[in-house]
C-alpha cells in the first residue's frame, strides 16, 4: 500500500497544479487478441517521464483521448519490461475504447497513472497461489503471472484457472505453454466449445470441484466478470480459504484515479485509490448487498 502511494505520488508531482492533465504516450504497437480486444503498447514521450514511471502488478492507468474522455485500463504488461513499454489490453465496448480501437501505431494517447493498490505479491510469498480469472479479467493478472515467472522460487504451487466464453475469446493463448514450462498449472476452460476445442468446458468456479486446495497455505487472486467473482469467492469460502487470503480486483466507474471525484465508491472505499485489489475481508460487509 505504501509503495503504491509513492508511485502514484510520482505522477502527481509531475503536474501538481494541473488537475487531470496527462502525459502523452506513443502507441508503439498493437497486438490483436480477440475479435474485440487488442493490447496497445504505449511509451511515454520523453526520457524523464519514462524514467519516473514505475508500476506494479494490478495497477491501472487512465488513458485519455481528447474529445472522447478518459478510460481506466488495467496494465497487462510485465513491470520489468526493459523497453519501458506499458501494455494495455483493451476491450472496445465504450465511447473511449471504441475511439482507441481506431488508432494506429504512431498515434498518441494521454496517460495518467499508475493508480491503485497492486496484487499483494510479497504478502503471498511461500503460499500456493490460485489465480482465477475470466474474460478480460486476465489482463490485470498477467503482470502478477510475470512477477511469479521472474520469482518462481518464492511461491509454492501456482495454478491459473482461466475461462472465456469461447475458445476464440481466450486471451494470451500463445503464452500458456511458456507459463506451463515455468511450472504454472494452467487450467483453461470455455463456456461453449467449438470444433477446434478439445479442452475443458465449464465455468471457472467449477474448478474447485476438480482440485483440492489446502486452505492453510492458499492465496487466491481473482478478477473477471462480477458474477464469476461471486461464485469463485463462494467456492473459496466453502473450502475455508481465509477471507484475508482471497484477493479480489473490482471494477467501478473510475474517473479521477485519486479518490477525489467520488464515482467509484463502494461503502467507505474509493475503488481507484483503496483498490482495485482488496482482500475479501474488507469487502465482506458490502459484497452481497444488491446495488450497493
Amino acid at each position: 500500500m505504501t509503495t503504491t502511494a509513492i508511485h502514484s505520488a510520482a505522477h502527481r508531482a509531475a503536474h501538481p497544479e494541473r488537475l487531470l492533465e496527462p502525459d502523452w504516450a506513443e502507441i508503439t504497437a498493437i497486438t490483436p487478441e480477440t475479435e474485440d480486444i487488442s493490447t496497445f503498447w504505449l511509451r511515454f514521450d520523453g526520457a524523464a517521464v519514462q524514467e519516473r514511471y514505475r508500476y506494479q502488478p494490478g495497477q491501472f492507468n487512465m488513458l485519455y483521448l481528447p474529445g472522447y474522455g478518459e478510460a481506466a485500463i488495467s496494465i497487462s504488461s510485465d513491470p520489468h519490461n526493459p523497453q519501458r513499454l506499458v501494455g494495455h489490453t483493451i476491450r472496445f465496448v465504450g465511447n473511449v475504447t471504441r475511439a482507441i480501437s481506431r488508432l494506429k501505431a504512431g498515434d498518441r494517447l494521454g496517460m495518467r497513472g499508475p493508480f491503485g493498490v497492486p496484487w499483494p505479491m510479497h504478502a503471498i510469498e511461500g503460499k500456493d497461489v490460485v489465480i482465477a480469472s475470466g474474460g478480460i479479467g486476465l489482463a490485470p493478472l498477467r503482470p502478477a503471472i510475470y512477477h511469479i515467472l521472474h520469482n518462481r522460487e518464492r511461491y509454492s504451487k501456482v495454478i491459473l484457472v482461466y475461462g472465456a466464453r469461447t475458445p476464440r475469446d481466450l486471451l494470451y493463448s500463445n503464452e500458456y505453454d511458456s507459463w506451463r514450462k515455468a511450472d504454472i498449472d494452467v487450467q483453461i476452460t470455455v463456456d461453449r466449445a467449438d470444433e477446434t476445442w478439445s479442452g475443458r468446458v465449464g465455468v471457472v468456479p467449477m474448478w474447485f470441484y476438480h482440485f483440492r486446495v489446502d486452505p492453510r497455505k492458499t492465496a487466491l487472486l481473482t478478477c473477471g466478470p462480477e458474477i464469476m467473482i461471486r461464485f469463485v469467492v463462494f467456492e473459496a469460502l466453502a473450502r475455508r480459504i481465509p477471507t484475508d487470503q482471497i484477493y479480489v480486483s473490482l471494477e467501478r466507474n473510475m474517473k479521477c484515479g485519486q479518490g477525489a471525484c467520488g464515482h467509484c465508491q463502494l461503502g467507505p472505499y474509493f475503488i481507484c485509490k483503496d483498490g482495485p485489489v482488496f482482500p475479501f475481508s474488507a469487502l465482506e460487509r458490502y459484497f452481497n448487498v444488491e446495488e450497493f
Binding site: 497544479e17 496527462p22 481528447p66 465504450g94 446495488e291
Partner: protein
C-alpha cells in the same frame, strides 16, 4: 491607543456602519466581497459592496420542501438563515475549465493560466465553516491536493456570523457544528441590536479592524451575545440522534425504509447540490465540430445521476432507492471512515430544498425505529 489592546482572539464592539469600511478595505486588498443577497424570492451568495446590499430585516421560514422570505420587523442584517446556495461554489466552482487541448499533428495542452480569485466571504455561519473544514479534508488530503480548490482556499478571507435565529430545518447542535463559530474565520460577528460584537481570528482580520473606530467589548455585550447563542441552541428546528451512526446505516443496508424513501425520492440531485459538503464531480470534453480543439471541463456531479455509477454493462445503482441509500449511507456513515467526520453539518439545506420534502432526520429516526422493532 486602543489598537495596542487589539489581539487575535479578543473581541470588540463595532458600530454597524463601520463594517462598510472593512468591506471597502477588503476590496482595496484585492478581495471580491461576497455575501447574502435577496434574489428571486431566495437568498443567494453574490457580490456585495455595503451593508445596504444585505437582506436587512428579512428572515427565512424553512420547512421540508419550503423556503419563504418573511419581513421580521427587526432591523438586523444577518438574521436570515441561508438559502439553497452554499459557499462551496467559491472554492469548488460548479463548472470550471481544466485545460484546452489542440490538435496540430499531435495534441498539445494549454492550461488555464488565470490566477485564483480572491474572495472575502461575508456572513459565514458556524455550520458553513464546519462544511468548509469537511471539504478541506476531501480536497486537500495528504495524498491528493486539488489545485483549484486549494488555490482558492489560500486566497480566502472569512467573516463569520454567529447564528441567533435558527430556521425550522436547522440541527447544527446535533452535529456539534454550531450555532457559535469557534474557529476558521478571520473575523466573527455577533449581531446585536446596535453594534456588532467582533471576535478577531487572524492577523489580517486584526489589522483591518485596527483601523476602525471601535470600543472594547463590555461584559454586558458579551453576555448578551452568549445569551443569544444559548437561546439559539435551544431553538433548533430539527434534531438528529447520532449516537449509533455510522453503524445504524452500514449494518442495515437492506432495511424496508430504503424502499419507502426510494418511492418518494425524485433522484433530482437537489440535496447533493445544495449540500455544502458534497464534493463529487465529473468531467466533460467539449469539442469543436471537427474535434481539433477540446475543452475539458469539471462539473458538479451527484450520486443521484444515473451516469454516476455507470460501468460497462450498465448502472450499478439502477433503483432510486439504491441511489438514496448511497447518499445517506455516505453522508452520515462511510464518510466518517473516509475523512474522520460525518459529511453532515446540520445546515438543513437538503431538507428545505428537497421538492418532495424528504427529511434525513426523519429517515434516520424511522430507520432506527425499524431496526428496534
Amino acid at each position: 491607543m486602543i489598537e495596542r489592546h487589539l489581539a487575535i482572539d479578543s473581541a470588540v464592539s463595532l458600530p454597524k456602519n463601520e463594517l462598510d469600511a472593512v468591506l471597502s478595505d477588503l476590496r482595496q486588498h484585492g478581495y471580491q466581497t461576497v455575501g447574502p443577497r435577496l434574489k428571486d424570492e431566495g437568498l443567494v451568495y453574490a457580490g456585495i459592496e455595503t451593508l445596504d446590499d444585505l437582506p436587512r430585516g428579512v428572515i427565512s421560514e424553512q420547512a421540508a420542501g419550503t423556503f419563504r422570505l418573511v419581513q421580521a420587523g427587526q432591523e438586523r442584517y444577518f438574521d436570515i438563515i441561508p438559502g439553497g446556495q452554499s459557499w462551496k461554489q467559491f472554492l469548488f466552482p460548479p463548472r470550471v475549465t481544466l485545460f484546452t487541448a489542440r490538435k496540430n499533428g499531435h495534441w498539445r495542452i494549454e492550461s488555464d493560466g488565470e490566477p485564483a480569485p480572491r474572495y472575502a466571504l461575508i456572513g459565514v455561519r458556524a455550520c458553513e465553516l464546519a462544511a468548509i473544514e469537511i471539504q478541506d479534508r476531501a480536497f486537500m488530503r495528504a495524498d491528493y491536493c486539488d489545485p483549484i480548490y486549494s488555490a482558492r482556499h489560500r486566497n480566502l478571507f472569512i467573516v463569520a456570523v454567529n447564528c441567533l435565529q435558527p430556521a425550522g430545518t436547522c440541527f447544527c447542535v446535533s452535529m456539534g457544528t454550531g450555532p457559535r463559530a469557534e474557529r476558521g474565520y478571520d473575523l466573527c460577528l455577533t449581531e446585536l441590536d446596535d453594534v456588532f460584537l467582533v471576535e478577531i481570528g487572524s492577523e489580517l482580520g486584526r489589522s483591518l479592524l485596527a483601523k476602525r473606530s471601535f470600543e472594547p467589548a463590555s461584559a454586558f455585550l458579551q453576555n448578551a451575545a452568549n445569551q443569544g447563542l444559548e437561546q439559539a441552541a435551544q431553538q433548533m428546528g430539527r434534531r438528529l440522534d447520532t449516537s449509533d451512526l455510522p453503524d445504524l446505516l452500514t449494518k442495515n443496508l437492506e432495511a424496508e425504509r430504503w424502499e419507502q424513501v426510494g418511492k418518494r425520492c425524485l433522484s433530482c440531485a437537489n440535496c447533493t447540490l445544495v449540500c455544502p459538503t458534497c464534493f463529487c464531480w465529473d468531467t466533460t470534453d467539449h469539442t469543436d465540430l471537427l474535434g481539433k480543439i477540446t475543452r475539458r471541463e469539471r462539473v458538479w456531479d451527484s450520486c443521484f445521476n444515473p451516469s454516476y455509477s455507470y460501468v460497462a454493462g450498465g448502472n450499478t445503482r439502477q433503483a432510486i432507492r439504491s441511489r438514496y441509500r448511497q447518499w445517506l449511507t455516505h453522508k452520515l456513515g462511510t464518510w466518517k471512515e473516509q475523512y474522520g467526520t460525518p459529511g453532515c453539518v446540520g445546515c438543513g439545506r437538503c431538507i428545505t430544498w428537497c421538492p418532495a420534502g424528504i427529511d434525513l432526520t426523519e429517515e434516520i429516526a424511522a430507520l432506527r425505529e425499524e431496526v428496534k422493532a
